[in-house]
């Protein structure tokens, strides 16, 4: 049982690290601000979640588990709010996103704020 938990925790940590690294590569690789935001979204949701679940499996009893769950909950509540505020401020200050030409139908564009 103990070995099983250890293996599960290791797997979760490994997956979380891979997701975080992918997000880190994405933030350097993507062409503009709005696409970079999606890369950060990966590290913030599943990357952080997997690492915290991996830590939970290390010590599946007592107060530490509750605190880790609280950190996970706060991360999941806070990050969409922060990225929405960021995106809204960026669009409001006339930072135009780079769009794919084929999908650029004039009617769908948002009105100027």
């Amino acid at each position: 049982m103990n070995l099983l938990l250890e293996i599960g925790s290791g797997l979760c940590l490994l997956l979380g690290c891979f997701l975080c690294l992918s997000g880190g590569v994405g933030i350097l690789r993507f062409p503009d601000f709005f696409t970079r935001m999606h890369a950060v979204g990966v590290t913030d949701t599943l990357g952080a979640g997997m690492i915290l679940i991996g830590l939970m499996l290390q010590n599946p009893a007592g107060l530490v588990l509750l605190k880790l769950m609280m950190i996970l909950l706060f991360t999941l509540f806070i990050n969409p709010t922060a990225s929405h505020a960021l995106a809204k401020a960026a669009l409001r200050n006339n930072l135009q996103p780079v769009l794919d030409e084929s999908s650029n139908q004039g009617g769908d564009k948002p009105s100027k704020l």
Partner: protein
């Protein structure tokens, strides 16, 4: 495994700092800073396990909250009139030089 996770997160933090320094616009920098903060929370939690000191989780919790407040605060400031004014002055002087 915990050590490997620590190293991976440090690497991600390095990538975020590179974007923070390179970032062409202000918002890229704020985004990278936000990501850096989230990764710091994870790093502190992992270090708590690595050193066998679960009290570190409290610090991680507080850091998560402070990170959110600071990002919102910076955004709020960047919306202010004075800030936009100084930004416009900067760009106009740059254009004047060119």
């Amino acid at each position: 495994m915990l050590t490997a996770a620590t190293i991976a997160i440090l690497v991600v933090m390095l990538l975020a700092i590179i974007r923070c320094v390179v970032g062409p616009t202000l918002y890229d920098r704020i985004l990278a800073f936000n990501m850096f903060g989230t990764k710091t929370v994870l790093l502190i939690s992992i270090l708590g396990f690595l050193m066998g000191r679960p009290e570190f989780l409290d610090i991680a919790l507080v850091y998560a909250l402070i990170n959110f407040i600071s990002v919102i605060g910076v955004l709020r400031f960047s919306d202010s009139v004075e800030f936009k004014h100084s930004l416009q002055e900067q760009t106009s002087t740059k254009e004047g030089k060119q």
